[in-house]
């Protein structure tokens, strides 16, 4: 089971690295917003796996809070992009 958690956490971290490359390279602002949103989702995934491997419920509470804040941040970014073009 420890190997499973190690593989899962490594894969999720690698996916976050790929999303970060898109944040750096992204030609337009919506590309970067999408990649940052994906990084927030991957952080929630990492916290869920961490909570499963340690059996600590506080990780899941943190995951709920990060999911909430990530949604609000994405909507705020989208409003900003829209206003920039109008």
């Amino acid at each position: 089971m420890n190997i499973t958690f190690a593989v899962t956490l490594t894969t999720l971290a690698f996916a976050a690295v790929l999303a970060f490359i898109r944040v750096v390279r992204g030609p337009t602002l919506p590309d970067r917003v999408i990649a940052i949103d994906l990084m927030g989702v991957l952080m929630v995934c990492l916290l869920v796996v961490a909570g499963a491997s340690t059996g600590e419920q506080a990780f899941l509470d943190v995951a709920i809070v990060i999911a909430l804040i990530s949604f609000v941040g994405t909507v705020a970014y989208a409003r900003y992009v829209e206003r920039e073009h109008s």
């Binding site: 499973t4 894969t11 994906l38 869920v48 909570g51 499963a52 899941l60 709920i64 829209e82 920039e84």
Partner: protein, 116 residues
């Protein structure tokens, strides 16, 4: 048995998240990248949460997992719609092979995306 099942679900969720990362990096324009990234928030996180609920079948874990799943299913659709609307109104360039562009014609369309 439950260890095997939850382990398989964890690996599956991580693989879907990795696919979303590869898709966001490799897809040619904003809208295709978005459809790749929303897979991670629904299917990948869903697999991880089901694995968590199978591994820890106590009430407090299951309630938290179900609330995270319900919240992400609700908000990822709204967030993807809002970003797509902003990108479309801002005249984001489409991939060269796009067949239908239903946006008003004053926005620049079908520009070649330089960064693939």
């Amino acid at each position: 048995m439950t260890d095997w099942l939850s382990g398989i679900l964890f690996i599956l969720g991580a693989a879907l998240a990795l696919l979303a990362g590869v898709g966001v990096l490799r897809m040619p324009d904003v809208f295709t990248r978005m459809q790749a990234s929303t897979k991670a928030s629904t299917l990948g996180l869903g697999c991880l949460l089901v694995g968590l609920a199978i591994q820890h079948p106590e009430g407090s874990f299951v309630v938290r997992a179900a609330s995270i799943a319900a919240f992400m299913m609700l908000t990822s659709a709204v967030a993807a719609h809002v970003i797509a609307r902003a990108a479309a109104l801002g005249g984001a360039p489409l991939w060269q092979g796009t067949l239908i562009d239903e946006r008003p014609s004053e926005t620049p369309a079908r520009d070649d995306v330089s960064d693939q």
